[in-house]
Symmetry: C2
Subunit: 153 residues, 2 copies
DNA sequence: CTCCTTGCAAATTGTTTGCATACCT
DNA sequence: AGGTATGCAAACAATTTGCAAGGAG
């Protein structure tokens, strides 16, 4: 039912823009929804969608991810490993607290998700101070993880 | 004098690692220092260094930026425009408050720097909670700028 | 029937790498 | 001298684009 809602929302947004509802678009969104929490590359999505729909092309996945991002249905993040990653949009999950924080170890490149949200105040402050309407944020901390610290790297 | 310090620091760090002090390395760091506040791509740096030292190769600039980043002499940031950007390291500037916040408009792609630092508490909280030693952070807010908001984009 | 969308392959673009030469120490 | 760094060109990898064929409204 959660899934049905997302799919309906996609169809609605597509129609509103005069765009077409295609299997490929539905499947890409559905794969992201079913893999909530994973940070998926276009290639990851491509492989999973291919299971259901072997004819899909990688270029279509790229185009679709871009489109879904434009429509605010998916979130995008960059973990500095050379490829852009996507996950189901936090807005869709009725989630006021976005878990977009990551600790990236500069020694071993491990990525540790960090869920917390002390940024609401800051977002409001920004809106008041600049008139910029904040939809989402991405926060990365760079440093040394516990293991690399003890290895005195 | 500020500049002299940075250059000396570089030399010191290079020697400590058994690496060599070259014109190219000094010039790259110097260009970043003289362009504090600009978010420079490797290409930008390449062009400016070329003025003083026309023989430098783009590959050297890439290698040097990576090296300077590893040594914590420069900061790296990603503004989602397809290339990595660098600026002089905030640690070098005796700057406790890092100005690594950016507001990125999803309609017009404008990037608005936002200087503020409410993240110190959060950094301490992370260190206590996870043992991760934070060296730096990068924070991006996505949304709609005032102009695009009024255009009801 | 019309225009949007797709798959494929070729093109792009930022970045990296191999290698012979040039340079620090 | 000896190993590190450099410049150049070729190699890479993620992403984008042109285009003819296919599909949704």
């Amino acid at each position: 039912m959660e899934q049905k809602n997302t799919e309906e929302l996609l169809k609605e947004k597509l129609r509103k823009k005069g765009l077409k509802v295609t299997h490929q678009r539905i499947l890409v969104l559905s794969v992201l929804e079913q893999n909530d929490g994973r940070h998926m590359t276009a290639e990851d999505v491509y492989e999973l969608v291919s299971a259901d729909y072997p004819d899909i092309g990688l270029a279509t996945v790229y185009r679709t991810l871009q489109l879904l991002w434009d429509m605010q249905l998916v979130d995008r993040l960059n973990l500095d490993d050379g490829c852009v990653r996507y996950e189901i949009g936090h807005l869709l999950k009725g989630d006021t607290r976005h878990n977009h924080h990551h600790l990236i170890c500069r020694a071993c490149n491990k990525v540790i998700p960090f869920g917390d949200d002390l940024l609401d105040d800051l977002e409001h402050h920004i809106e008041d101070a600049t008139g910029f309407h904040v939809l989402d944020h991405e926060l990365k901390f760079y440093g040394l993880c516990r293991e690399c610290m003890t290895k005195q790297n």
